[in-house]
């Protein structure tokens, strides 16, 4: 069923693209849908553009794993729309035509701005494309049983077809459709979560028996840890040696009557106990075992140990209201069992990945601190501030959001469509908290890829909801990627080739160049989507926001509100912003871990560059403006 709904949805989207293709013969039609989209439709399409894989898959996944910290992204992403509405929306519409470069360059007609802003649009679009493509791969694996790379290639191909056939018009209607469906079905999912209520033995409505991970006593004999419980025999162990030469056993493999399981060694004073881990074993012949049983389904974990001090049957709440659910989960006597990757090692020709539980009280789940160390060192707190700054400033600088201001007929329509977007997006972000927490406590979190939490939560209710939610999630990726590819194609065809290189194309040629650019950017996105497999998509988007906010926002704001801004300063600000943001990301601890190096070796110890790169871009603009005042006498008239 999942496949049929999914295929039907994709077919409809492609039909829509070919239908609009006949109406898209001009450059204005291709890049800005002729400027004739109704503001209400555009508002929902904004939501469609914005509620990307990061919002739906990434945020829900992060909340499912680290609680409230994931919701910080929702708050930051929404707050960014305030900058878009109050500062950017109407001036952007008044000053530009197809791309944000038009607006930046409206008073200067400077080749430098055209080049810098065009390249910046390309880089930001590609940074934002990476998480979307990663999300595509994540979705296709459980839905269609295809490998990650195939999912990425499939999305890339469909999106290239959508964009290359009808440009912004088909993209807008795909976004509108997707935005509407996303809100409707997310609401249904949240209602279902509240109706199911909370339980310490989540059995997915009776569909999947709750598996209680076990704890047994053990003893040490001649350097090996052996189980002291009937029915288990020692099979193997994983140990490490301390610098002092002491052998420490970390995990033990036990044989039961029908399977092998892995256990974590827990020593307390003189007693030893073994805690059953969740394990994934890939054998040399490619067969896959979950907790020792051959199984191709996802590993699914996460539950409550205690609800407001109660456990077992008496803890079941039955149906709860929207406030009661959050109230119970934030209780200090509510305990959540979360699972973290504990070890990856080879056992003969078996590749073993183990996950061990940690118990976290509700009051810590429902406030920041598990992902972002707000109680940690100064650097860790700066990292948090830096992320919140980038999220606040990034929205109004995203190229695929900015180009949507050119699809409506007037500045007033740009304003109204932004307000529709805020209402829609704000409502959805409130839902993300419920979906994420729902996944966290209903035993549906796949610790190998938290991005799938929302669709897997839907599957815990019924297959139809899973199929629809997955199809929408896939459309989410399609829609956002389409918008980004249009923005990138506009940067290449309009900003760089037409305006910077002054190649004289006629309308038809401009559309052909736009389509060719869309094809190329699509290919790049496919490659990057495969390379970045496995990273949380919302986390990756946080970086894209930092790059956008550093490269574009200072130039936009200062052009609009500081009359001494010069063309040279805009070029310098964009260049410094983009180099600083991308450069700092590349030398951050998270990237060093990705390179296979130690996190402590990273020369820049913050993971989020915004707190350095955004002010640096502003300062550069001010200094260069002051230095170039007399030289070229250019003064920007903001309005």
């Amino acid at each position: 069923m999942a496949f049929i709904i999914f295929a039907g949805f994709v077919t409809f989207v492609l039909f829509l693209s070919f239908y609009f293709a006949r109406q898209t013969q001009s450059a204005s039609g291709f890049f800005a849908a002729g400027g004739q989209i109704h503001w209400a439709v555009n508002g929902i399409s904004f939501a469609g553009d914005y509620l990307s894989a990061a919002s739906f898959l990434g945020i829900c996944g992060m909340i499912a794993v680290v609680g409230y910290d994931g919701f910080l992204y929702s708050i930051g992403y929404l707050a960014g729309w305030i900058v878009a509405l109050f500062v950017v929306a109407e001036p952007m519409k008044r000053l530009g035509k197809y791309t944000f470069t038009d607006a930046l360059d409206s008073t200067f007609n400077s080749p430098g701005i055209q080049l810098a802003a065009g390249i910046s649009t390309l880089i930001v679009s590609i940074c934002y494309l990476i998480p979307q493509m990663v999300g595509a791969g994540v979705l296709v694996t459980p839905l269609l049983g295809l490998p990650h790379a195939v999912g990425v290639i499939m999305v890339g191909t469909i999106v290239i077809i959508i964009v290359a056939t009808a440009g912004m018009k088909s993209t807008t209607y795909v976004q509108f459709l997707k935005g509407t469906l996303l809100i409707i079905f997310s609401t249904i999912l949240v209602i279902a979560v509240c109706q199911r209520g909370l339980s310490t033995e989540p059995d997915q409505g009776g569909k999947k028996p709750y598996y209680d991970y076990r704890k047994i006593p053990a003893m040490q004999q001649n350097g090996t840890i052996k189980p002291a419980a009937a029915g288990f025999t020692f099979a193997a162990q994983q140990a490490h040696t301390t610098p002092q030469g002491e052998l420490i056993v970390d995990f033990v493999k036990l044989a039961e009557k029908d399977r092998f399981t892995w256990w974590k060694v827990n020593k307390k004073d003189e007693t030893i106990e073994l805690l059953e881990t969740a394990s994934e074993t890939i054998r040399g012949d490619g067969s896959r075992f979950i907790n020792g049983i051959e199984n191709n389904n996802e590993l699914q974990l996460g539950s409550l140990v205690q609800i407001a001090g109660k456990s077992g049957k008496e803890a079941n709440t039955g149906s709860v209201g929207i406030f009661k659910l959050l109230s119970l989960l934030s209780d200090k006597d509510t305990i959540v069992k979360r699972w973290k990757k504990a070890a990856v090692f080879s056992d003969g020709d078996h590749m073993v990945t183990l996950f061990a539980p940690t118990e976290t009280p509700g009051n810590k789940i429902m406030r920041p601190g598990l992902q972002f160390k707000v109680e940690g060192t100064i650097l860790q707190r700066l990292d948090f501030i830096s992320l919140m700054l980038a999220l606040f400033c990034g929205t109004a600088a995203l190229p695929h959001i900015l180009i949507r201001y050119y699809t409506v007929p007037s500045p007033a329509c740009a304003r109204k469509s932004t307000i529709v977007a805020i209402a829609t997006i704000g409502f959805f972000y409130i839902l993300t908290l419920y979906m994420g927490l729902g996944a966290m406590v209903n035993g549906v979190v796949n610790p190998l890829s938290d991005n799938m939490s929302a669709p897997l939560l839907a599957r815990s209710f019924n297959t139809f909801l899973f199929a629809v939610i997955s199809a929408i999630a896939f459309a989410t990726v399609l829609g956002t990627v389409s918008g980004l590819i249009i923005a990138a194609s506009g940067a290449v065809a309009h900003d760089l080739l037409d305006r910077f290189y002054k190649l004289e194309f006629n309308e038809r040629q401009k559309v052909i160049i736009g389509k060719a650019a869309a094809f190329t950017v699509g290919l790049v996105a496919i490659i990057l989507g495969i390379v970045f497999q496995g990273m949380n998509v919302s986390y990756l988007v946080g970086w894209a926001f930092a790059v956008a906010a550093s490269a574009n926002l200072p130039a936009i704001i200062m052009l609009l509100f500081w009359k001494r801004t010069t063309a040279a300063s805009i070029v310098a600000s964009i260049t410094v912003g983009i180099i600083a943001a991308v450069g700092l990301i590349l030398i951050s601890p998270d990237m060093f871990e990705r390179y296979g190096l130690m996190r402590s070796q990273a020369p820049f110890q913050l993971n989020q560059p915004g707190i350095i790169s955004i002010p640096l871009s502003f300062i550069t603009l001010v200094i260069v403006s002051l230095l170039t005042q007399k030289k070229n006498g250019q003064v920007a008239a903001a309005e």
Partner: protein, 97 residues
Amino acid sequence: MFHQPSKTNNPDYAVGYKSKLGILMFIIYAVIYAGFVAVNVAKPTLMEKHIVFGLNLAVVYGFGLIIFALILALVYNHLCTSQERRHSKNAAKGGQK
């Protein structure tokens, strides 16, 4: 020819008013947002306090920021639309004379 607004708009005499109003509302929201970040960094345990309907400060402040953004946006739109209408009425009267 390629570089021009997508559609020629009527002159907007309310630009100055809207711009100032936008900045004012932006500042109000930015201060409240900064307050949220500051509380989280300075005293994160404060976020655990239950405030209303059994919800803790983190949830109330977070939801509040989302809802307040919508309220500000609606107020902004109302004031801007009123100002645009006033200006277009004045312009129409001027035209009739």
